[in-house]
Symmetry: D2
Subunit: 352 residues, 4 copies
Amino acid sequence: MNAMMKALVKTAPQAGFTLSDVPVPTIGPTDVLIRVEKAGVCGTDAHIYGWDVWAQNRVKPPLVIGHEFMGTVTAIGAAVRSIHVGQRVSAEGHIADLTCVLCRTGDAHICERVKIIGVDRDGAFAEYIAMPEYNVWPLDDAIPDEFAAIFDPLGNAVHTVMAAGVSTKSVVITGVGSIGLMAIPVARAAGAASVFAIDVNPAKLELAARLGADATYMATDPNLVDEILRRTNGDGVDVLLEMSGSGAAIDAGLRMVRNGGRAALLGIPSDDVKINLAERIIFKGLTVLGINGRRMFETWYQTQALVKSGRVDLRPIISHVLPYTEFDRAFALMKSGEAVKIVLDFKGDGAR
Amino acid sequence: MNAMMKALVKTAPQAGFTLSDVPVPTIGPTDVLIRVEKAGVCGTDAHIYGWDVWAQNRVKPPLVIGHEFMGTVTAIGAAVRSIHVGQRVSAEGHIADLTCVLCRTGDAHICERVKIIGVDRDGAFAEYIAMPEYNVWPLDDAIPDEFAAIFDPLGNAVHTVMAAGVSTKSVVITGVGSIGLMAIPVARAAGAASVFAIDVNPAKLELAARLGADATYMATDPNLVDEILRRTNGDGVDVLLEMSGSGAAIDAGLRMVRNGGRAALLGIPSDDVKINLAERIIFKGLTVLGINGRRMFETWYQTQALVKSGRVDLRPIISHVLPYTEFDRAFALMKSGEAVKIVLDFKGDGAR
Amino acid sequence: MNAMMKALVKTAPQAGFTLSDVPVPTIGPTDVLIRVEKAGVCGTDAHIYGWDVWAQNRVKPPLVIGHEFMGTVTAIGAAVRSIHVGQRVSAEGHIADLTCVLCRTGDAHICERVKIIGVDRDGAFAEYIAMPEYNVWPLDDAIPDEFAAIFDPLGNAVHTVMAAGVSTKSVVITGVGSIGLMAIPVARAAGAASVFAIDVNPAKLELAARLGADATYMATDPNLVDEILRRTNGDGVDVLLEMSGSGAAIDAGLRMVRNGGRAALLGIPSDDVKINLAERIIFKGLTVLGINGRRMFETWYQTQALVKSGRVDLRPIISHVLPYTEFDRAFALMKSGEAVKIVLDFKGDGAR
Amino acid sequence: MNAMMKALVKTAPQAGFTLSDVPVPTIGPTDVLIRVEKAGVCGTDAHIYGWDVWAQNRVKPPLVIGHEFMGTVTAIGAAVRSIHVGQRVSAEGHIADLTCVLCRTGDAHICERVKIIGVDRDGAFAEYIAMPEYNVWPLDDAIPDEFAAIFDPLGNAVHTVMAAGVSTKSVVITGVGSIGLMAIPVARAAGAASVFAIDVNPAKLELAARLGADATYMATDPNLVDEILRRTNGDGVDVLLEMSGSGAAIDAGLRMVRNGGRAALLGIPSDDVKINLAERIIFKGLTVLGINGRRMFETWYQTQALVKSGRVDLRPIISHVLPYTEFDRAFALMKSGEAVKIVLDFKGDGAR
């Protein structure tokens, strides 16, 4: 299989991607080949595009970028049993070793030897991608292409919400970037009794309200913690979903949670964070959960149930669907803050 | 305090209640006196009214009946600290001993020495009732009187739903009497992705659909189990909420649950039930939960959160609000199946 | 690979096994071939040997029997990555489909399409067995061969104990056959504060005491339930581990558990069981767990930790190690009750 | 009741305690009066004795010190129902408000308005102490006085161990002061498969080994983290019990825990701690638990079960039993590191 395909490639250790012709990937006996149709653009892609310090330390060019996608299976390996050619699929982008204690006890999503597509091996911003059968997720007919293309970040939101446990609870979300925004309808659908959203960006907060947040607050509000306490009978919220990675937001968020509450941390701080462990966590009897990726495949089933039942609608979050050739424009839109979530079209004309 | 009050009393070991003048109850140092305003009529009250075998074995006349209510505090004992005169309240009707291992470890709702008001001691179908401070539940202003009057059975529904855990799950409810009906909006608000209701009564199923059930089925449908399997991709539902107490429904319900699923049993069979433990529970790796009462007071906080947030609306379930003097009519309406949930008015004229 | 090997085969639909020469199994790309060294004899094997009704309905001759074993890997398929030739291994005998919702969410042990070696496909009472790489369990050097050979039933005991949760709890075990006996040191090592054993066989109870039971009781004792209540301050035990499958034991066991307690059911009743659901489960607020197999591979890691640390010693339970050619004697010893657990030696001379 | 009694009193805002004559406390209707017999000396008492910054900010002289004790009931209030004069008791020293959401949902131990005896109100280093009936813990005859006197700190250890969940797990304890030492036999009895202890004090590590630690390590060992990884197959331990409050120990401890593991934090850092949240908690998918006090009264029942069954023996930890008049010597022994746990005798001659 030495046919060629179009792909967005980090060709050299510098900013930007190159639209290149590269060989269609070959597949082993337990892999499938997928014709990519739509792919989501993630903040991680923007880090690699911009070539920041994290990207410089992690990414080894040349590499095809992209890890959120859906498409159609065009070939399967000899030992593949559960997937067939022509099937419409998405896929889990974390490729675990499947042999360690974590993988063997239901924690493959935090396997220490995980490889992420588009970061550690070739990714999905291409006409074709090879994936292990294990990672492929057959799509229900009821799920639209654009939603399917972003099941990966939606899965981050679902995993965070479900790990925290929100049924009948009050919830604060600190940081409503695209995953934080997704967490709003997810938390409501999963049973939250109230959802409060906090951010530094008024436009994101407006969208948060449209997505079902019961109240929204500017992170810069000097009375923010008191306001949340006032809204919760002086007790604080039951659950914090931290999706900003900001040290200040983490501190404020922990102050808003009631004694005995739960805090799920998804946002990744770029540096060490100073925490008053005694006052914020120990005396409060808090439970703090580190959240990474999505559970394979419990989170995928939960995500499917939420989307298929119509309880979660992602349309307000997908701000743009663009032909993949307009990738430079996509990253410019992200940088300017104009875009919320961008989906690239690798097959048609990008019209929705 | 030797004033007299009106009360519905089981005066003798025979069918019916008597509208009587009895002394207003006296209160001890840790009790409060409550002017009852509205009270819910429960199936248990109907059993006592009809004087069936269970009632004959359990109830010792003379006894004031009724255990679901709300009202206003008119007096407090010398040691009462958290409740004040004039406060609008409901109350937990299970009076636990508070000294046994169950009460001391968060399981007071299943205390072995529990006394239930209106069953084991004087109840709420009266102008006044005395309650221990511990059992009193201060009402949020946002909660209407009629809803507050039935927090007890609503709490049964909430406890069952929350013990089972429905967030993102598919749910079958077998038996949609008044608690089963309440469980529909509760399960949806608590995060269920789909809710299927089963009963023998088409009118109840119609109401179930109106309350948010995604599908409803006659229990007599010979293809019932297959239908549920078809709706759940052949796997069966994640969760069974058994609210009928019927042996046939329990067997059918257990067949509908997927391997590894959860079944919460609230309905009380009147006799032993024959169960194929190997096929229905053991090989399936099922978790079966016996549900009794409501957790003190976790369930009450959850119930308050659901009602106050507007996620649960009980109006379609409260079919009648009647002056308490029309109690004979109330029990006739229940017997005929015309009524869903009846609330008695002990203060005003019963107009809503 | 058309070499021949010795195997114990159910050749025809009648009682007994035949020591036969059959072809060494062939392996696919994801399988490994294992030279069996030691294998445990299970009650299930005795059912198939005796050809009872269950066996007649389930087993299709000709079939190699046996599902508990250890040995050494002699060949691996082309796609096998984590296992190498010469490795000392045991294996999980439940072969799941690995593609259904249960397998994809950590519940492969209750996969609906599971095939069990020695029951549904050729088993381990042979010189060689082929197993999927997924099912193979590499053995720690510190674990003796005889213990490794019975990790499967030990895993049943561990899964039951860990599902119930015994840390600091009081525990009753009803039925101390070989798995019930194993459950005694497992429960103690897993943190049980007290363990009570019940059976109809005084010799088994004597062994139970030797294995660490704090007290033992004849199931026929008319004051049995009262005795257990007396030992537990009148409350009942925290946990029931039901390992007899007897309807009478299940009823008695449920009566011994305290309100809010947990009951794990592993014993398989041969018929429907009549249960007073109201008194035994619902009013008590009990949690009842159906237990099947062992979790893949959480239970295996737990089992390894318990044996490797020396917290669990199986020597008193392994009553006989016999050459596999003496299989008829083994089943006679089991039938007579002389044997507790028998291990067959497929390589050496059966000396321990 | 204007009789006088001996007590150790912080009479003024300066170092030291004064052996004073003060009035025997009066009791309200829901209180009991207890003749103190033995009382444990805690690090908190040493902070107050030494009058450090924390003590200056929290303690308002004059105050009777001490919060770990046992004794005999000599009087009960009019409304007391479950305790009688002559009963041998210990007591929970955290006096919660019992009316807030935390107290009403099983989290009284982290009530925001808790008052601690010997810190916020008069304590147990006295001949008599008044306690609310709710807080009193009747003692089982099988529990020796010295053990009963330190059920409070033992409860800290038990709560930490049980919150983390150690059954079949590998456990690291960072910091083996008296509570860290207690956690060793508690973790073993609760089911830990292996326990590793770390400290800066070789004498404490020697005692740790005597109490059942499988291995001990100096915190100053530069290869410490690698050593623990080597002992755990390269994965890291399942559970961290942090009992030092040291920032360096917290960082090292979090590095030792495997992905998906659990860390329970009991030690109280005196200052903010810088944490690499991304690497230590988020990417690892860790669960971090803040631990405060002991659960009322689940932890007390667990503690009783462990001690009464003989699974936990505290004798190696109680280094001194001294007459209460020798309190200055007790604090000198603590400061010098000669003492592990000191019990003061308020009744007899201090002989064991």
